[in-house]
Symmetry: D2
Subunit: 363 residues, 4 copies
């Protein structure tokens, strides 16, 4: 099937924050046509517009962009009983526990692109990042064979991994990476809404711990930048050490990064690596791709989440403050800013879907 034909898509978890972001990203999408919406049993049977309206009359719509009108009257289905006869691809945005149950049901038949972490650390599951690791598609036939599925599951990375891996990939390709130390200052939207982050806990405050986040970033970064050998991923051979914190910011994860390079590089060479690193990918012309995957700014006080998170509709990782570091071997340090609920979540997953179609992984 070519890119010219619109794939029929289902969005699972459509009433939640991430699911709504899928709807915004998929409204009038040239390659995908959303045919079905699914959520938990509580919403099943209601029109989408009713499923997001409380008894008080308040609308539980959480995106800045309005809900595309074509979805308002679709009847929400029970995710556990979703019929896939007319569906080519499923986008899921659900909690990890639920994902473990329903994603295999879908993957038996069609490709599943997920924001949940449920399958992220399985040996036969690729974690794609657009422009970074299409070669990991070698795992797709392995996964199908292992599990007896016609489709497959591919979760996107944790939102904090996304900007970091995008910034590292061109450096790893050109100079080799020896080690990474990173401290994140993450936005509250990353915690979702249930329970989310209470104003009482974060106002006039920094919370220096996000459970499981550091391990996720460390493992995923090495996996995403890993190589394929004998149809399995060999994690990239450098250590990543993180401290992840929460700050009082709505959207946009800021990361302070220190990198030791295998081969010495001048600051200009590093900037050139970022400038050129995604050129080939950007020639693919994917509908959700931004003009730049990473953008380096020379402004001394940037990137800042409020000012930079929406660059190219939140699909570009903005990097600034590149300096030499005198602790790590061939060290450099910089600050990056990545939109955690755009490229870092649903819209990034849609771009991955486009990427897999263009690359022929999804038929």
């Amino acid at each position: 099937m070519s890119a010219a034909i619109r794939r029929r898509a289902a969005v699972v978890g459509a009433t939640g924050v991430a699911g709504q972001q899928f709807l915004v990203s998929l409204g009038k999408h040239p390659w995908f046509e959303v045919k079905r919406l699914a959520a938990s049993e509580r919403s099943a049977g209601k029109k989408f517009k009713d499923a997001i309206t409380e008894s008080s009359g308040a609308t539980r719509w959480f995106c800045d962009e309005p809900c595309p009108k074509e979805f308002l009257d679709i009847t929400v289905e029970n995710a556990e009983k979703l019929v896939l006869d007319d569906i080519d691809i499923v986008f899921t945005a659900i909690e990890s526990d639920a994902a473990k149950i329903v994603e295999p049901l879908y993957a038996q038949r069609v490709p599943v692109i997920s924001t949940a972490s449920a399958f992220r650390y399985e040996k036969d599951v690729p974690v794609f990042l657009p422009g970074v690791n299409i070669n990991h598609s070698a795992l797709v036939p392995v996964q199908r064979k292992n599990r007896g599925w016609k489709g497959f599951v591919t979760p996107g990375p944790n939102c904090t991994t996304v900007g970091l891996a995008f910034s590292l990939k061109p450096l790893h390709d050109r100079f080799g990476i020896g080690s990474v130390i990173m401290t994140s200052m993450q936005a509250v939207s990353g915690a979702g809404r249930s329970p989310g982050v209470l104003s009482y806990d974060i106002l006039d405050n920094v919370v220096p711990y996000i459970p499981k986040e550091e391990e996720k970033v460390q493992i995923e970064t090495q996996k995403i930048l890993g190589t394929i050998q004998d149809n399995t991923i060999v994690s990239a051979p450098f250590n990543v050490s993180c401290t992840c914190t929460r700050v009082n910011v709505i959207d946009g994860h800021t990361e302070s990064v220190f990198v030791g390079l295998k081969n010495k590089a001048s600051l200009d060479e590093v900037k050139a690596a970022w400038r050129d690193g995604y050129k080939e990918f950007l020639t693919l012309g994917l509908p959700s791709a931004p003009p730049e995957i990473v953008h380096y700014t020379e402004e001394p006080f940037r990137p800042q989440p409020r000012l930079d998170r929406n660059m190219n509709d939140g699909m570009t990782t903005v990097i600034g403050r590149l300096r030499s570091d005198n602790v790590l071997p061939n060290g450099i340090k910089y600050v990056l800013l990545s939109h955690n609920t755009k490229m870092g979540a649903a819209k990034g997953a849609v771009l991955t879907g486009e990427y897999l179609i263009k690359s022929g992984i999804i038929a």
Copy 2:
């Protein structure tokens, strides 16, 4: 002169934020009696209470604590013409440019303890941190001789250096430090009030650059932990690499620290070093000394600025989240929280004054 006699003190820059913090710290102080207040010419000649009252009737008093009553009716003097005949010690809290002019005038006659950076990087000027480097007093006679002064100048460290150096000192003593990587998340009060940080710039935001801050922390940390050789300071032989950011927090600097140790230490040994590191200093019984200089908390989500900055009235550096780091040699990582306008500014300077008296450096 013994500790039993109250030294007569002047506070210069008394109408500003840091100066007011001196007044709070020196109200009914057992060892110091504030005899004179000084500020810029604009305030000179007014009673202190009038100097901090605007024409609108608003009071420009910036501390949470009320102004000690004994200072309200003191007539503010012009800092450039301050008479020192009845003064034993001067505490200054003024901009660096002004400090360059007036601190030498005072130091000709008496010891000057300053929050300004003006003299911080001079070779013959010690930067004291209580319990850390009293041996740097070897520079005092050198400074006197070099400059022909009867007194001397000693500035406190930058507020961001304070917590870092306190956390490193016991590790350096016991295990040796090989390298330090630090990312700070600093409070807005660190920027003072002129111009300070605009709400418009920091609300829903992180500003990833504070001019000159990183250089200050890097240089000062090595200087404070340096050794005295031939009456000069030899900076501590490890590199410090920082990224300093501003977050939307009123008070309290949070720092994410990664340390490579010379000698391997278990996490328990590191905690023991912190527990024991200031024992001797704490036996001195200084009036402004807290029960602990550093406090390690096992609470997984701590330290947090809003919850921990006021531990022991802001005089204790609270450390948490100690973990192993797999990037730096014998690496550990932790998060610390230090009150930037208490131990990190005036009250820390008062404690230094007490320390110098107790140690006999100030007669």
Copy 3:
């Protein structure tokens, strides 16, 4: 029983935010001795210190003040099975639905002072505010007779009512109140923790609606300032019209108030009414009473929640910006600030308990 004997108290809902505030208020209290703590079945049987510790090791203690040590090892009981044989008074801090069930069980035997709204609008239930309406104790025997209880229930007012009623009482006594228009800007702590206010919803925002709050303030204000006639409360004969909003403030409700007076009063006369209004009450010497119930500040930019909420440990309503209003008859307008979780919740309820003892309502 005289005030000299300590009453034996139980705190129900002890593990929640408001319950913890009771514990802080009752630690080493001269008139009350906390003998029993109760909470939901989930916490029952655990020591209090364990009941507030999560499996992650994090402590769920929400007050700025530490937990008084004497409570840490008390075994928490199931609120529905609380034994009252050795208890003289119960303080409850639970959800309204639970209060409807358990408060009558307790009130059969002993007085119950509650922060829940469950019984607030019953005809035979007084809502006491210290210094304002001790005469409403005439309802106690009515309630006992109606319900066949030996004890009684008295809930405190909604936190938003508290400051408003305190500011109105002296005006009503001296000039008569004709009408009240009020807009509140309420702190997030007023919403508690389940669900509380998400940072995502209130950061860089104002939420202009708090369900049921406006009705509560309107009805309660008239009830509290009402008169007793024939053993029933006749609501005060003036209308109250409110808009209640939520702002991004931790603690402290700010209220912009416009009052029409029955009899014309100069601004100085209004200030004098506030100055003198609680003189008699303050002579009672109650342990939790602040030096002033209302404090008028002439500072033009005050009251402000962050600067003024902790005046007298949050037990004083701070009023400022008194001006004439040209819309309401004999109109005045002002801004008030009341600490919603201190005088507005548990500590206010403890003061009410003291007040009822001193007045002989509680034996």
Copy 4:
């Protein structure tokens, strides 16, 4: 001159926040062509792009939207020496003191539309609000005659007046207004950048006083809704009583409004008045006009500044929470939200310019 010909415009104060908003509003504008930019002497002679670049390399561009490219290379002129030979209209965005000096210089020759308050309260100066008071143009010939000018000056209203007056106009037309009580919760951007609002002053806080703001709103509202009699404005015959506060919000003024109507109106009639009130104005097809001047939302928790301020690019006043009020005669109450730096400042002024052209007031 017809609307089809582009007027040649100068923007004065172009480097400041409000001036930059003019540039954003005037980029590729169909009716205006910006020929000249002016600012203080400090910027004069520099290209605009250099005038907004600091020596550190930081760009002082304060709008969310990028600067239209056509302005970057225009050389900034000294506002006091601005040549108007080729200019048809001047937009000024400068401090009131400067406005008093330069606006008369410009008004001698051309119309001046200003965001400064300098001439707002002069008897012969109209304060236009689009769709509200074009009849006030009767003052233009009076002003010209009084002052001997060929042009004229018209300042826009204070940003806090704008939403209030828009909400009141349809009610005044249809039911008559008897009185207005309003409490504002204003954004920090309303205070500009010099000095602006310090994060230290507003974080976790509300500031209940904005100097001169309440008087401005009270006087301007009556003036804007006033009638023309004998070529002078007779202020609308109702009282307005305000309390203006600052909250920790970036953009968007929230106002809690209580209105007494001359003639009783049901809530549905009030909503209909808002729905229909600007119909005629909206048929004019002005380039900067939004689809709705006021929008009523039935969502119970709205309007909220973060969610609603950008409706129709900040040009629509969003109203919600309409209820009856039982204090004012025929009382209603509601909450409104108006974007203070869009319709409330430069973009509103541009719309006024279009309105004056369309109405033939500007030739």
